[in-house]
Assembly symmetry: C2
Homo-oligomer: 334 residues x 2
């Protein structure tokens, strides 16, 4: 009896060890919310090649760096960036303390819900609003405020809370990559501290793997102890050329996979896929007006124009939400 029992036990040990080394269960079908087709095949094939030590495309785990845009890539971004919705709610909440806002643009437009004026907001108005509503807060207070808002506020059209507007196929992809030894990073034009309030819970991405736009921050020692205070001054704009610059600053390695959805991600994909060896660049195309939104070249948010034109020659995969996503949104929390 002894030997077969020992053998069976050792097989169990081997299985346990394989699980602990974070190898994916070969029996499970990866990416269940992705529809079968060329897009899913391209992703799975890439991951299988770079993780197969016998393949010419193999990359050591330390080189398996994957970067993801957030707004429009990991969660929705219509009809306005969710962080802007938060900032507008902050304007309304802070208005009683700022009577001068009643006659000062862009605040007047927000307080009076002047949608025509708000629709014309450009970068200067956004910066003024973010500066006025985020600056002067400590990092701790900002995170508490943003977290409470994300957890409680409902999207105006979708009948879900903002925090439940993550895309299920993307959440599965992050898990699949991590199970295959990838480091998964978020590289967003959104604010780094705003992202950190939900990145761990929503995506399993810890704060040190989040890169985003940032305000300047000041270190102050107050009576209660040292604090970090957000200043009304841009620190870094993590968009377009800013993305590869910040990827180098934070990661210090060129990624081998980049996934975005707009022309703000063009340089991130360009930088990633121009490296030597196997690389994968992907752009999510919002082409599903029925289940989400359809927008690209003419959108004022998440505009995708240069990316659509340049993808073919660069070998980037255009991911169709309508064709490739079996589910769109992640199920709500249990």
């Amino acid at each position: 009896m002894a030997k077969p029992l020992l053998k069976a036990t050792m097989l169990t040990v081997t299985a346990l060890l394989a699980g602990l080394a974070c190898q994916p269960d070969p029996g499970a079908t990866p990416l269940p919310s992705w529809r079968d087709g060329p897009t899913k095949s391209a992703i799975v094939s890439f991951v299988e090649r770079v993780t197969d030590p016998a393949h010419g495309d193999y990359r050591a785990p330390m080189e398996r760096v994957a970067v993801f845009d957030n707004d429009g890539t990991l969660w929705a971004e219509q009809p306005m960036y969710f962080q802007l919705a938060y900032a507008l709610d902050r304007v309304r909440a802070l208005a009683p303390e700022h009577p001068e806002w009643a006659s000062t643009e862009p605040f007047r437009a927000v307080i009076e819900d002047d949608r025509e004026a708000m629709a014309s907001f450009g970068m200067p108005e956004l910066m003024a609003i973010i500066g006025a509503t985020h600056a002067g807060m400590t990092i701790t207070d900002f995170r508490t405020s943003a977290r409470a808002w994300i957890d409680s506020t409902r999207h105006p059209h979708l009948e879900r809370r903002y925090r439940d507007l993550t895309y299920q196929p993307m959440v599965e992809l992050l898990d699949y990559l991590r199970a295959n030894g990838f480091q998964v990073w978020i590289v967003s034009g959104g604010g780094i501290e705003f992202l950190r309030t939900f990145s761990q819970d929503a995506y399993g991405v810890p704060p040190e793997r989040v890169i985003g736009s940032s305000t300047a921050v000041e270190y102050r020692v107050e009576a209660m102890g040292p604090v970090l205070v957000k200043l009304p001054k841009l620190g870094s704009l993590d968009d377009k050329e800013g993305k590869p610059v910040n990827i180098n600053l934070h990661i210090g390695r060129r990624p081998i996979l980049a996934f975005g959805n707009s022309d703000g991600d063009f340089q991130m994909l360009e930088y990633t896929t121009a490296g030597q060896g196997a690389r994968l660049g992907l752009l999510l195309h919002h082409d599903d007006a029925e289940r989400e939104w359809a927008y690209d070249r003419d959108s004022h948010i998440g505009r995708l124009d240069r990316g659509l034109d340049g993808a073919a020659e660069r070998g980037w995969v255009i991911v169709s939400m309508a064709r490739d996503f079996g589910e769109i949104f992640s199920p709500g929390p249990p």
Copy 2:
């Protein structure tokens, strides 16, 4: 026979699992190059408390963030910061291409080896030298150049190459912390890209765990592809107040352990140890003129004055190189 054999095998499995979960071998004495005494006891006690789920000081692995200064903490910094020695060698190497430097300070002093003038260099001169010798290079070329210098150049007094001037007790401490589930980060006033050329090999710290001073960087698409170019402009000075600001930017969590050696590390220790729960702040005191150097309050490099005065009331541990370090330098590469 079956049951005892199965039990013995399961014990082996348990041992294997324990090993895979990165538990330290309880039979090994940690920190062999640290002399027994209150300093070593304070470190080991802290690590045992924060890793013991039954202890009130227990911290989950994700919260076990430890930050280390580099110059004067992980490796030597006398008679000048090693990166400055590299920059001066670059001035000499580039001088033929810059005939104007023969009559322009601070370059003239470097080229003529005018030690009196060089001894008086302050921040403006250092910035001018680093700007002129580091700027315009791509990140890739800079790393290649710095790496070649560190690997080949010998320290003027110590008969060792610069790369072999890391402190053995500190290298052991980094290993010990990682074996106990800590994330180990470098937070240095030195240049982030300079550090990344040796941090993995010397300390086991990968590029994404390195925080340092940085120049501004520009993304350019050239004929050969996209490149990142260092600009002659400061991006971030990672010293004093800059350290907690950059810790928040890169890590996004307050560390529970901080180790420095100079007043440039004061705010990093202050920020770290002001947090709630168990915290440990340490300052390495260079008090061993025989085996290394002895300097503190009056040194122009690694000045330690405010830290010596403020340590007691803050509960920071002053680590004496003479008393606590059994060995100073790491053995050279095999």
